[in-house]
Amino acid sequence: MALEKITQVTGRGVYVPGDDIDTDRIIPARFMKCVTFDGLGEFAFFDARDAAKTAGMVHPLDKPEFSGAGILLSGSNFGCGSSREHAPQALYRFGFRAVIAESFAEIFFGNSITLGMPCVVMSAADIQAVAAIIESDPAALLTLDLLEGKLSIADMDFPLALPEHAKEALVTGKWDAIADLLEGIDDVKARAATLPYMAA
């Protein structure tokens, strides 16, 4: 199963401010009544977008100037809460190919890497700086260079962090672990045979 080697992600950005944005916010549970992930994209941030509309405002994801953005920026502890893979699936299907935040909740992070959607960490100050550039020039292109560990936008570079194992998985095209796991099946069976509860 040869997967794409993800070393760079380029796209326009959109900033959704806030800390602790949970997976219920990213995809409200009622949209998980489905047996496939198809069609989840349109429901990304559904309630937050709807609430903005009701309040006479426009959510960043609905602003025409950010339409087609491929990189999402947010605050700390992004993706906390439920383990639902529906959350990164919804973001991916909405069109995002990378997420930048101050920190990520663990399960969301792992689910995203498995989809080949890098989640990279930047400092709050740098995220603010990038958000300001995007705000003034929504067409500005962001380039995430995973090998170099930097984000480039408008002639500026910002450092980004990505845990080594995730970087390795993405840049070698092994972000979906299934192929590696299947290779170890003989070892799995040997290990299972040592555990009495597996035999019961």
């Binding site: 806030g18 800390d19 602790d20 949970d22 219920d24 916010r25 409200p28 549970a29 009622r30 998980m32 009544k33 489905c34 047996v35 992930f37 309630d47 937050a48 709807d50 609430a51 700390s76 502890n77 906390c80 809460g81 439920s82 383990s83 639902r84 893979e85 529906h86 990164p88 920190s103 909740a105 663990e106 399960i107 792992g110 689910n111 498995t114 080594e164 194992h165 995730a166 390795e168 998985a169 070698t172 092994k174 979906d176 672990a177 299934i178 590696d180 796991l181 299947l182 170890g184 099946i185 070892d187 799995v188 290990r191 299972a192 040592t194 555990l195 009495p196 509860y197 597996m198 019961a200």
Partner: protein
Amino acid sequence: MSQTLLDKVWDAHTVRTLPNGSTQLLIGTHLIHEVTSPQAFGMLRDLGLKVLYPSRTFATVDHIVPTDEREEPFKDSLADEMIRALRRNCEESGVKFFDLPSGQQGIVHIVGPEQGITQPGTTIACGDSHTSTHGAFGAIAFGIGTSQVRDVLATQTMAIRKPKVRRINVDGKLAPGVYSKDVILHIIRCLGVNGGLGYAYEYGGSTFDAFTQEERMTVCNMSIEGGARVGYVNPDETTFAYLNGRPYAPKGAAWDEAVVRWKNSASDPGANYDDVVGYDAAEIAPTVTWGINPGQAIFIDERVPRLEEVPEKDRATAEEALAHMHLKAGEPIKGTKVDVAFLGSCTNGRLSDLTEVARHIKGRKVRAGVKAIVVPGSQGVAALAESMGLAAIFRDAGFEWRGAGCSMCLGMNPDKLVGDQLCASSSNRNFKGRQGSPLGRTVLMSPLMVAAAAVTGEIADAREIFSVK
């Protein structure tokens, strides 16, 4: 060398190290439900793979099940499609399904322990973040995404990094009217909703030693709300007594051997921890949330914090929380009007939760205008509660007595908040929209505090309402 339980379980389940440095970890027990498994079975079909160890996967249906009209087909055709998909997938792959007619259906994190499937020294995974619940037995239990459900179905393993371990000691005796729910809300309040990132939480100390198995489950359940994917308590006689005689627990000589193994799986004295924190049980009071994440919590006698009292980095979220909750900074939370009282969920839907509330609610009445529902966590819990007369006590008090499921913990079944209703809830998450209405408001608390809210129609101190001494 002295090891933690996590070290020992990790070593015993490590298959190999993967090229990127992650561990290929054997998952001895896999629990599945209707929401996060259908896509995984679909991926298996696409890849031409089969379930490797069908006897090590167990299924139930919980998130989408109606708790009142449970006849099939369900009125909600999407929900009906989900239960049928699970039934078909289990049949085709030979996986045991605790289906609705079985009398054993319930919330996955209640069914596992109840059946004796959850055992010490094992690894458990489930496509649900509250899988940490099973850590109460000294299992290492992970919430996983759907692609990992696929991985576990196909290989009985997953790729994962070993977490660090933070030992959390709670010592002393809880005051009357203070429960394990208050302990975990307090821990999350102190360590933050992301304080557990990268850690497994090992809970211990004299308070945990004295806790029943079900009280330990309530704490471990909410580990993920503190950012810790895994939370556990070392197994002891309380654990073994709980498991003895349950359907999937070892029997006879196998039982004796298992107990020896289980004892050995506990953390060694002098084990090395990456971090250690401690709390005094006597200082914990009944705790309620005021905001939109479980860390935004206060003791019932405290006031909703003023923005200037909140650390600067948390201020924007606090401001958003106050606006969503319609609460005023600096005002008492006690006395806030309640529309709905929900008693149930994988956090607090067990028999001991219902017994404790029934003991106090007997002869009392739910306040007019409050919708109060009790949702047993499993059909097993429901049957016991009915035979013990608890259901009758709840009904007499004006609670609706429902069938087992996740119910109002999340908006995936007919039990939902409407508009901006405020719910006193024994569940685990107060995120915006969590209970099914985007404007709905959730206040997390212990089961007895939910009962106090039901009786008074407002957020109240259960110790006063029920004269708890």
